[in-house]
Assembly symmetry: C2
């Protein structure tokens, strides 16, 4: 393993970078994190060269070869480092995991963003309802299991937990508590954050909430 | 192979269903197509039961077990029927294929829809520019190769070709010809349509253009 040269182009507040860091930690892959300092005004040449289409973090560099897009990176990690698999073994269970991965990728972050970036109260309420409806489906598929795929923390858990540093900001600006609506899902967050691979990879939610507050001021929302 | 019971819940105009049909044909998997007749007003009970989250076609039923979302279905087909692989063998090339799959999935269909569903001329022009910019990246990654992964028609080809029945409608309402901008990409479309697995799976573009015209009338656009 020591022979692999692994670098992660990252940004401290990006939930998509955080999930890749959790995956790297779960798979015990040593890596160097290279932080972008100003994505808005001054993207690094390395980032633009490594991800010329989207010019976004995260990008994984494996022996210099770039892999972009967080879910794609995590799938790649699972294929290139087969030990400690994140995806289930059987094709059907894999398809279930990918279905929920896609659901999370398309829905959770934009729905959360709509909560804190809305101006009018009715827009905030609509955004909150939408976010909670998305959570309802995730709570439903989690059910009484410890983790999304059963007993072990895996692919879907990583994709969702990476986004949860932002949840307290959604709760603050939407004026709700996830645990009042979905106690099982809230318990899953607590259970997952108790893992070192998670708590050491994710940015402190308080820091994210301050960051969101700063952006709201910038957008003239507070 | 004959032992597998494979059904596809489908709709004749859906480009996402068409791509799954191409994949089934490429992999020589016999299946029964079950057509939805009125997705707008009367979804079948089987569809709602099989895909309760999105309630959308396509859904594959393999021995009764549902797999939803076209890209997920095609990945599943490639894993459950390993003969005639669609995805490249090596992890890095797989990650490249998934990167472009994701790009196509997120961008092409909504960009095309914006062309024919826009009312004002400046909106149509903006939608056309956006569509052509997306095509520029796809043309760039295709380059001088016959197919996206090189010599053989595979995963990325299937995902994109499935959407091309709609392209003549985009060209008509956007008043452009793809081949004037990207002759290599246009040649790839012609080359791919020459395959029986494609031409027998995709709906005739003329039928799609008539369908689009009908929707435009319904939306008060013509």
């Amino acid at each position: 393993m020591g022979k692999d040269d692994v670098k992660l182009l990252s940004m401290w507040a990006s939930p998509f970078c955080m999930r890749v860091k959790v995956a790297l930690a779960e798979k015990d892959i040593p890596y160097e994190e290279i932080l972008e300092t100003d994505l808005m005004n001054d993207k690094s040449d390395l980032l633009v060269k490594s991800n010329p289409v989207h010019k976004q973090v995260p990008v994984l560099l494996h022996d210099g070869k770039p892999v972009a897009e967080s879910t794609n990176i995590i799938t790649y990690l699972d294929e290139a480092w087969p030990a400690k698999p994140l995806l289930p073994d059987c094709a059907y269970e894999k398809s279930r995991a990918r279905f929920w991965a896609d659901y999370i990728d398309r829905k959770v972050y934009p729905a959360g963003r709509a909560i804190w970036s809305s101006k009018e109260q009715d827009e905030v309420e609509a955004a909150k309802s939408n976010f909670l409806e998305i959570m309802m489906y995730l709570d439903g598929t989690l059910g009484d299991k410890d983790y999304f795929n059963g007993d072990t923390f895996g692919f879907v858990d990583i994709l969702l937990i990476g986004l949860t540093s932002w949840f307290p900001a959604y709760e603050k600006y939407g004026d709700f508590k996830l645990e009042d609506h979905y106690p099982k899902l809230a318990a899953w967050i607590t259970r997952s954050w108790a893992r070192e691979t998670v708590s050491e990879s994710l940015t402190n939610p308080e820091k994210i909430t301050n960051f969101v507050s700063m952006m709201r001021k910038m957008y003239g929302l507070e």
